[in-house]
Each structure stands twice: as C-alpha cells, then as structure tokens.
C-alpha cells in the first residue's frame, strides 16, 4: 500500500492512473478520488510563436517541504484519507505532464476542494520557475500571473507565520 500522504519531485514522467490506483490500493474506506494532471501546452496563438518546450527550475529540498506544508494544510481543512502531489522539473515539451495532484476522501466534496486548493497554492508558493522556448528561441522566464494569485486568494491563506504575504 502506498504511503497515504506523499510528495514527489522528479524529472521523470508519471503515470496518473497508476499513482491514483496505488493511493487507494487495499483501502475500503475511500469513496472519492480526484485526479488532476497539469500538462505543458503549445500555446500556438502566442505572438512570439508556439511554445516548443518549458524548462522547470526548482529549489531542491524546499520544493518538497513547501508542498508538504500545503498537504498538511489541506489535511487540517478537509477530512482526507490520502493525497499525492508529483511535480516534474527539467525540460518538458508540449503534451507532456508537469504536475499531478491526487486527493482521496470518503466523499467527493473534500476531495474536489482539497485538489483545487493544492493546485492553487502550489502555483504561487511552491519554488518552481518556468523558462520558455518559443520557435526555438530559448530563455524567456515565465512571469507570475495575477490570475494565479487571485485563485490562491480565494482560499484563506494557509496558517503559516512565515507566509510570503
């Protein structure tokens, strides 16, 4: 049986279905599993040309710990029976996976809400940075979006005295 609360930071791809199945393997108490996969997209209509790849840089150690703190926060807020977050780093091309969030609970409400909370907060507080290659030109760092801050702000901030703001 997989550890019920897990964070993995890895260069390799993941298998969302296998990871979700591992989370519920041998369990008879779970009634709802929500699986979210974030993919790299080509963004073809962009004025600088279609995206050919993203390179994700991360802060080793802090990435695991920060997402772990978000998972703990989610457990305080909702009755979760399991959660898994997998975030990739390195070069990722359109169509490939970037991030996986799986949440499990007795009922769907908690599983949906916790998965959305984890994604919203992960985008603004997990130490990852995307650099774009468009039409073969490397090197532009993706800017943080106000939209992502707004999404995270929908939830009351995690109760951390050290929170960025």
């Amino acid at each position: 049986m997989a550890a019920p609360f897990t964070v993995r930071i890895q260069a390799e791809d993941f298998d969302a279905a296998a990871d979700a199945a591992a989370l519920t393997c041998g369990r008879t108490d779970i009634g709802a599993v929500v699986t979210f996969t974030g993919l790299c997209r080509a963004d073809a209509g962009h004025p600088d040309g279609a995206l050919t790849a993203l390179t994700l840089e991360h802060y080793p150690g802090m990435a695991e710990e920060e997402i772990g703190r978000l998972v703990e926060e989610a457990r305080q807020r909702w009755p979760l029976d399991g959660a898994l977050v997998v975030h990739r780093f390195g070069r990722i091309v359109p169509g490939e996976n970037i991030v996986l969030v799986v949440t499990a609970s007795v009922h769907r409400g908690a599983a949906f809400a916790a998965a959305e909370f984890l994604m919203d907060w992960l985008k603004t507080s997990a130490p990852f940075w995307k650099q774009e290659e468009r039409a073969g030109t490397p090197g532009r760092w993706v800017e943080a979006k106000d939209l992502d801050d707004d999404a995270a702000a929908r939830w009351a901030p995690p109760a951390r005295p050290d929170a960025a703001e």
């Binding site: 840089e57 802060y59 992960l122 992502d148």
Partner: protein, 83 residues
C-alpha cells in the same frame, strides 16, 4: 551564511550559490538584499526592483522584514511559476 539564487535572479547575479558574511547592520531580508545590490552590476540588476524578488530562510518563505538571526540558508528568487 549560505545564499542560493534561482531563475533570473541566479542568471543576473551569475552564481547559483555563495557564502557571504554581511556586516553587523544587515539584520533582515530587505537589508541583505540592499547590501547585495551594492556588490556589483549583476547584483544591482538582480535586485533593481526589490519588491519583485522573493526570499526564503532555511527553506521557508520569508518577508522583507524577516530577521536573519540564526539563518543558515537564504534563497532569493522571482515569484514562483510552477504548476
């Protein structure tokens, strides 16, 4: 103390990691960023808009007024864009 830089902060500073010994008057994240900005052209470029640069102390998000006392590892980086 050990400093780490990520993404365009790392590129502008020209280093991913260094050990520094700031003077006694440098007691907060904002004071450290200001001290670093005066160390050279790359640092000045990295910290030209200090409001944009985020920091972590010992792998936890910090604020500009967070004290450095007891910190082992301080990281500076742009707003995060993962997920």
């Amino acid at each position: 103390m050990k400093l780490l830089y990520f993404a365009w902060v790392r590129e502008r500073v020209g280093l991913d990691c260094e050990n520094v010994d700031p003077p006694a008057g440098v007691g907060t994240v904002a004071e450290l960023a200001a001290w670093l900005a005066a160390r050279g052209e790359g640092y000045a470029h990295a910290f030209e808009n200090p409001k944009v640069v985020r920091a972590a102390i010992d792998r936890r998000h910090a604020r500009p007024d967070s004290p450095l006392a007891g910190a082992r590892e301080i990281a500076f980086f742009p707003p995060m864009t993962g997920g």
